[in-house]
Symmetry: none
Subunit: 235 residues, 2 copies
Amino acid sequence: MTRKSIPRHQAVERHLRSRIANLRPGDAVESDSELSALFNVSRMTVRQAAQRLVDEGLIYRVPGVGTFVAEPKVHRDMARLRSFTEEMARRGAVAGSRVLSAELRAGTADELAALHLAPRSTVTHVRRLRLADGRPVAIENVVLPMSCSAVLNEDLEHSSLHEALRTLGEIPTSATGTLVAVNAGAEDAELLQVEPGAALLVEERLIVNQNGQPLEKTQTRYLGDEFVFHVTLAR
Amino acid sequence: MTRKSIPRHQAVERHLRSRIANLRPGDAVESDSELSALFNVSRMTVRQAAQRLVDEGLIYRVPGVGTFVAEPKVHRDMARLRSFTEEMARRGAVAGSRVLSAELRAGTADELAALHLAPRSTVTHVRRLRLADGRPVAIENVVLPMSCSAVLNEDLEHSSLHEALRTLGEIPTSATGTLVAVNAGAEDAELLQVEPGAALLVEERLIVNQNGQPLEKTQTRYLGDEFVFHVTLAR
DNA sequence: CGGTATAACCTGTCTAGACTGGTGCCTGAA
DNA sequence: TTCAGGCACCAGTCTAGACAGGTTATACCG
């Protein structure tokens, strides 16, 4: 046993995750008893793995019928600041991008005010179509101070912008944001491959770095029916 | 009896939630074995309850030491639980309602599970068109346990449901919820006086009371272009 | 052919133990 | 007085069953 032994329920969970990745929503996965026979573990152990995937929304279980792959809904946990890439990884999908534009340009008054930059400053603007497993799911507009323009040299199609920022010493730390719903315009619709008028969830957020300085102003237009935003509210 | 028919792990969970509500972060709660003795259940059953609270971030467990109340992870200042009435007041508008229906009916499986009620329980259901300065801005579906049915005697057109709940000794304390964007259906459109297909922001939230017990399950469909949800995210 | 009873499955819930690795306190020896 | 060992306790992991309640397919009966 040179390999560090992982808990058996993790082995079952890993199996189920790969199963889910290779099946379509609504398809059945193995039943508890099948899995317990397959892995030679007790049913309680199988249930521990399955329950976690239920909690993540990856599968659903119907008493008397079986366990099935759930509709892919991206659950975005609002209490945590995560990049799109992290969010996708959590969900077992591969994040990608098609860069629509990446340039230096004059900042708008809004942008400069939000980022605490001097009037007529130049900003770095990256516009990307975000992909989950190759499928378009969001349109992202990122505005950064010119001091972060080095990110334009990164591979913006395949790597994380937040990762690139971290290598520049800028650590995305917290954010405030707003959410509204809008109807897709013609351009939105074409990029996201939906009908014009489809409901989109628009998130605008301002991210600050480890020193509390404004770092990034982002507007992201998500497909409304594929993204679920999770919120926790306290009195 | 209602008490008898709820799963034992829910009874333990309920106990822990009220425990958490009355303790401060870092305080220890009962150990697994204490709880299993207290409720006369096996430790697996206790663990099932505890694990869910760990997943929710309410408690944390340290092997060899015990189980403790966690730091509240939400920035309470920012992510506030507000009633529609409070939200409107904050914006300087007058909240109102048109009651579409207010009745006792059998709960759906979803509702009963969310509210931790026994199968086939009756629930209180209030459906209202919410008005801001007399203009329709949202459609609200509130589901409460039958124990709160007294709210049906209140003036639901002009007063706050949450206020009414407070007079019943049920204090809305925190909530978890989800947000998605959808297109308005025919009925939505007519009630909200918009075109069918208009983008709506759908909020589903489960509110718990001061003891951590599920109190209210609400779905609210907001006009997408009039409502902005403000969120704060921390790394 | 249509309806019903039954058996086979499925998940949910639960038990009463077991062993592991870790923590922390208390006691007794140096 | 200090420190090491032992012991009680803790959560993590896991077993091998059990029953309940729901679904579904099949086989049988009218």
